[in-house]
């Protein structure tokens, strides 16, 4: 019998029930909740007279709708429907007795940043949230994935999820990254190589030296976008970097529990003889700073490349590429570094952590923005406070950036932060779909350093030229 993968091990440790056909009830250790995908689930509980089975394992925070401008406690800053959604979460958190971080709490932020920051996310756990970027938490060696609202209700009521096991996929990044290349470039390059459906049906484990060399922040960036590659979950085995990040966090284990936890966490790796259904290998040295040119996250090219021609593709992708180029207002053969940028957005659960802000500030320091607007939206109130303490906030403000409060903001433009039609944005978020950042808005996905470089030159720029 072959060994087990990390995914196999976490899976096996969480089966509460297995039916004959292999359908399992997977026990859920942490359930994160936000205001957009939960109201109908709580309503379902009320209608059936059910309660939340494990309120102590359920954590709620409003993030998608909340304004990121000063004075946001004033409800007039929100549209009527946003206000209703946030108020519904307030009420549901109170009525059902779950942990809650309201906007007035400094710990409030994007749910996938708050969970790890507070020590809710730990190695070996199962973590779910009604949000596809739950994959982020896989960076800790936790099996974490997004679920729909019906499943949110199912987890609230039963603390389990009906699941069938996915296949195992190994994504290995060998060697080291070159200067100017970041976790964001790794994760986008993997999607560029495998396509947005390449991971469908798989749980990905990222491994290899370049992954080991990443900080926890970088690992979260990599796992965050596993979903854009089609995988429900991404995983990275825990190691010293993980333990150092987790230790001392408010909800991390302490004392004897810590020792017991460490003993188990040390077993959480894929065995050498484990079976993989698919293996993808990229050389760390080959990865360049990348940028997306189209309206799918798989439309990835090195910044040194030129805009492709629809005929470079095959099958249904030819028409998709034509539609993308038209939407994006790009011409085949045009150099990517000649593309002028109107707006820069630095933030989101992909790149709204302290390391991301440090990387961007490094490039921006002492310079002025050359775009119409640029904004930094820290991923949580605590990230924001730390960036202020480190002087990063002042660097951004001096350069002409807006310095915002925490939330999802222009990542999906559900709050007032939106692109105007035709406006072109270099964004550190994760989706470049049509209309994602505002009706007819144009998104180029990049790393924080690349976004900062674009902000100070006014066009897509190879950050390596500025280092």
């Amino acid at each position: 019998m072959s060994g087990k993968t990390l995914y196999d091990k976490i899976w096996d440790a969480h089966i509460a029930h297995e039916a004959e056909d292999g359908t399992c009830l997977l026990y859920i250790d942490r359930h994160l909740v936000h205001e957009v995908t939960s109201p109908q689930a709580f309503e379902g509980l009320r209608m059936t007279g059910r309660r939340v089975r494990a309120p102590e394992k359920t954590i709620a925070v409003p993030d998608h709708n909340v304004p990121t401008t000063a004075g946001r406690e004033n409800p007039d800053q929100m549209t009527e429907d946003s206000r209703i959604q946030v108020a519904a979460l307030d009420k549901n958190a109170r009525d059902f007795g779950i942990h809650y971080y309201p906007v007035s709490d400094i710990r409030q932020g994007i749910v996938h940043i708050v969970g790890p920051e507070q020590g809710w996310t730990l190695p070996g756990m199962t973590v779910v949230c009604g949000d596809s970027h739950t994959a982020t938490h896989g960076a800790f060696g936790a099996l974490a994935h997004g679920i729909g609202t019906s499943e949110v209700e199912h987890v609230l009521a039963t603390q389990t999820l009906i699941q069938k096991k996915s296949k195992n996929m190994k994504v290995e990044i060998t060697g080291s990254l070159r200067p100017g290349v970041t976790a964001k470039d790794i994760t986008l390059s993997v999607i560029g190589a495998t396509g947005t459906a390449g991971g469908t049906g798989y749980v990905i484990e990222y491994c290899g030296q370049a992954i080991r060399e990443l900080s926890m922040e970088g690992r979260m960036t990599v796992c965050n976008m596993a979903i854009e590659g089609g995988a429900r979950a991404g995983l990275i085995a825990p190691d010293e970097t993980t333990y150092a990040y987790v230790k001392g966090r408010p909800h991390a284990p302490k004392g004897a529990d810590w020792d017991k936890a460490m003993a188990w966490w040390a077993t959480l790796f894929s065995d050498d003889d484990a079976h993989w259904d698919k293996v993808v290998t990229l050389k760390g040295e080959d990865i360049a700073p990348v940028v997306t040119w189209g309206t799918s996250p798989e439309d990835v090219l090195p910044i040194t490349a030129t805009v492709p021609h629809p005929d470079d593709f095959t099958g249904g992708k030819v028409d998709a590429a034509r539609r993308s180029l038209d939407y994006m207002g790009l011409v085949p053969g045009q150099k990517l570094t000649d593309v002028a940028i109107d707006t820069v957005f630095i933030g989101s659960c992909t790149n709204g952590r302290i390391e991301d802000l440090r990387a961007a500030a490094e490039i921006v320091k002492g310079k002025k923005i050359a775009v119409k607007r640029a904004m930094v939206v820290p991923g949580s109130g605590l990230v924001r406070a730390q960036a202020e303490a480190e002087g990063l906030a002042q660097v951004f403000i001096d350069a002409g950036f807006e310095w915002r409060l925490a939330g999802c903001s222009m990542c999906l433009a559900m709050n007032p932060d939106q692109l105007a039609p035709g406006e072109r944005c270099a964004s550190t978020s994760n989706r470049n779909f049509e209309g994602r950042q505002g009706y007819k808005g144009r998104t180029h996905l990049v790393s924080p350093a690349m976004a900062a470089a674009a902000a100070v030159t006014g066009r897509l720029t190879d950050v390596r030229e500025m280092m």
Binding site: D21, V36, R53, T79, G148, S150, H154, T196, A197, T200
Partner: protein, 201 residues
Amino acid sequence: MQKFTTLTGIAAPMPLVNIDTDMIIPKQFLKTIQRSGLGKNLFDEMRFDREGNENPDFVLNQPQYRSAEILIAGDNFGCGSSREHAPWALLDFGIRCVISTSFADIFYSNCFKNGILPIALPADAVALLMQDAEKGANARVQIDLAAQTVTASDGETFHFDIDPFKKHCLLNGLDDIGLTMEKGTAIDAFEARAAADRPWV
């Protein structure tokens, strides 16, 4: 949940690949706290212009497809966010079945929670059904979940695969939560074991 047994209906062709959940239901419509009423905003940014006028080129605005109950779509349908508003919008519009070569995972499982049948078929079968759908309202496609078949208007039949548990729930309109709650003792037992093995959780 509404049962799904058989369906004979008009199929609308949407050959685009990677139709994402932002296209199916743009985020400005996620601010509802209800499940119903989203059909009027299905594919909003493709279906209407900024002033709310219909775009006559969009397939669901064409007279022959207005009452479509089936969508035939390009690869990787439903990629993007976990929003269940996507199947809610499809259902509210009247779509009960989507046929493609592949679906994004979360969208796929969300469909089953709402009485929508997503059918994955090989590329040549989808291509043939797409051609069939382009014939307009006369081309009625028949779906039989119990038999796991799709039959094109000319009689050609394709078999599709589906997880037996999902099929069972859809055929009978079963509520997952009720089924799981029947296994309460197994969950209790798991919690007791986990509390001893991993007390920090």
